[in-house]
Symmetry: C2
Subunit: 219 residues, 2 copies
Amino acid sequence: MNVITEQKQRQRAPSKRSLETRMRIFDAAEQIFAAHGFDAATIRDIAALAGVQGALVHHHGGSKEALFAAVVARRAAALSGARTAALTALQAKGDVTLRGVICCFTHPFLDRVLGGDPGWMAYGRLIAYVSADDRWRAIASQHFDPTAKVFLAAFAQVLPGASQARLAAALVYMVSGMLSLCASRWRIDDLSGQGDDTEDLVQMFTDFSEAGFRRAVQG
Amino acid sequence: MNVITEQKQRQRAPSKRSLETRMRIFDAAEQIFAAHGFDAATIRDIAALAGVQGALVHHHGGSKEALFAAVVARRAAALSGARTAALTALQAKGDVTLRGVICCFTHPFLDRVLGGDPGWMAYGRLIAYVSADDRWRAIASQHFDPTAKVFLAAFAQVLPGASQARLAAALVYMVSGMLSLCASRWRIDDLSGQGDDTEDLVQMFTDFSEAGFRRAVQG
DNA sequence: GTCTATAATGAGATAGAC
DNA sequence: GTCTATCTCATTATAGAC
């Protein structure tokens, strides 16, 4: 008996059909979690939207919590990669400014989430939930803290003399604004009494963050 | 038969004991809703914390949603009053500056929520939930929009020429930062790798907001 | 991998005694 | 006003046929 053939726990590679089903389930979970939050979302809703039976959701996603974590993780790697790549490119050009570092952090997120793709739009609301709730602290730490620390180092370079605490606080304020720009545009519309232009909002959010960052880290 | 004696639906004034029980239930609901969010919170948890039976929670609070709305409403009036009073006092002095208007909006909230009172601390997290979730849009509109519009008018005075859309967006960014300062201090601590000083955080948040506001509303 | 059927649990809400 | 007991419903998760 050949041991090699048994060394992998999974005997066969997943079929193409299986992978497609899994993606449908993850996409559906992303939409439902984003629309209702973790607790109000039900496996039944997710299964119905994916067009499968509830048992299949458990088969592919495990428990409800594991499914939630998997949905968050799925796009987190792509996002972190885009952010650090942009920062690396900026540093390679030798043209590192505060605004440049800010844009390397915000644009990979805003471009995707405001770009109209339903998956990324849902992901934006999902991240707003994750960031706001202490309960998902572990998920937030795992997926976002490493990148955040890389950017804190970059911010420290362009804003020498600023304390870690102030840089961290400014970054958190900026992120909360970025998330509210994606998840709470209805509030902006309600208060301004009119629709708004996405490009203008992004532009002024960047202005807001840059000026705030620069002012806040001063002693 | 005297019609007068029946014109009120509630025949007797609530007893002192009843009012105390009601307050205990509302306080417990405030804590549980803040700790777990609306859906993960249960009437049973609230009843247990208040030291009463579940049926009594329904008696005083009505449905779960009505109880949630009542808990939010309870402190909202006091907060709005403090904000508009501070603004009125500032205007009476004739010393209206951007930073002054910002402080009239943020300090009544931050003083209470960061002041150590458990009820107000819970309320801060609760408002973070309400502001982030489309589901509570009606509650947010009812309790916060009127005050927000008063302040938008004041911001327009100290920042003439700014569009309503930009002022509204800047206010939303500021509010989201204020809420994350209360609800997500653990993120700041995690990223900075150290504890932080509350006064310093408030100071630099105000700096951040003032500079952001001023810069963002420029064309 | 996919499905049906169901187990096991816990939820919000209410009726009615006191 | 308060409590006990219970109703009704929806949930996650799993067992086992195909």
